[in-house]
């Protein structure tokens, strides 16, 4: 290995071998995590796409009706009609843990259970288009909330997938090959040392024998 210098010692060899085992294990785990995240992400993103198309269509429809309503009534009347809403929506946020990514889950409650409380005005002086517009929005609201949940989850998961993929690649292409290379280098160096000691000993033995017995 060229880039970093390692000490060719037995201690270093043991350390590197342990490191390699951990790296391989981590690599396997992260790869599994990435695959599972990807599977869930793709499901979620397909749902996200469908929801978005639906919501955009719904809002467009509602907006058309609002324009009609505005054309049919005085602007002040429209404003006044929607000035004091009877209904109120609150959200309860909980978390769902998917592969160590915390995804938000929204539960919504309306203040009153009566569906007709979305009409915060009397029907006598308002146009029917306004009723339709408000109705369209009310119908699309659950989908909008689901969209919010879905889109945020997709965003968080995309980040996590990117991070995990980088880690997997770093382990697979850098950490593990480098460690293997170091281990190989140390093993060869140690073997080489051993051989050189062996030959030296043999040589010394020869010399000593020669000196003692005059072979």
């Amino acid at each position: 290995m060229a880039s970093t210098q390692v000490n060719p010692t037995r201690m270093e060899l043991t350390r590197l071998k342990k490191k390699l085992i951990t790296a391989k294990r981590g690599h396997k785990l992260l790869k599994d995590k990435r695959d599972e995240l990807m599977r869930q992400f793709l499901d979620l993103v397909r749902e996200n796409k469908a929801l978005r198309e639906k919501v955009e269509k719904g809002i467009e429809q509602a907006n058309k009706n609002f324009v009609m309503a505005k054309a049919g009534m005085e602007e002040q009347m429209v404003t006044a009609s929607l000035l004091a809403p009877k209904q109120e929506v609150t959200l309860e946020v909980s978390k769902k843990n998917v592969m160590s990514v915390n995804l938000p889950v929204f539960d919504y409650q309306t203040r009153t259970s009566d569906n007709n409380d979305i009409y915060s005005y009397g029907f006598a002086f308002t146009s029917g288009d306004l009723d339709y517009a408000v109705k369209y929005l009310a119908d699309i609201l659950p989908d909008m909330l689901r969209l919010a949940e879905c889109e945020k989850s997709c965003q968080l998961m995309a980040n996590e997938i990117e991070k995990t993929r980088r880690r997997v690649n770093a382990l697979e292409h850098i950490m593990i090959p480098q460690t293997q290379e170091s281990i190989k280098y140390i093993t060869m160096k140690l073997d080489e040392n051993e051989r050189s000691t062996q030959t030296r000993l043999m040589k010394v033995k020869d010399m000593m024998l020669k000196q003692a017995h005059n072979y």
Binding site: V55, E60, L91, E92, V93, E151, L156, A158, I161
Partner: protein, 105 residues
């Protein structure tokens, strides 16, 4: 306990008031970025923003991308759809998968 906010120009969002969502028309504010941040940091967990305004506030919206809440969701305004919403989803796919495999039809 959290609430839902809708941000954008008045004409696009006033209908949501009837459903009990909080509406904020900040298009005329001088410092829309600051105003938007103050809304995002308060009691809202979901903020719907018109695509037109979302295009202007890209930087501010981006700063919330790692947070679990608020979820900032672009919606089409009264002037129609400029495609930010769907292109965001595309971006997620590209980021996660590496290339766009959902929308290429």
């Amino acid at each position: 306990m959290y609430k839902i906010a809708v941000v954008g120009d008045r004409d696009s969002i006033y209908g949501f008031a009837a459903l009990g969502l909080d509406i904020y028309d900040i298009t005329d504010e001088e410092n829309i970025g600051k105003k938007f941040k103050s809304i995002a940091d308060s009691k809202y967990s979901v903020i719907y923003i018109t695509e037109e305004l979302a295009a202007k506030l890209e930087k501010e919206i981006d700063s919330y991308k790692d947070a679990e809440i608020p979820a900032i969701i672009p919606i089409p305004g009264i002037k129609g759809n400029n495609g930010i919403g769907i292109s965001n989803v595309k971006k997620f796919v590209e980021k996660a998968v590496g290339s766009d495999i959902i929308f290429n039809d």
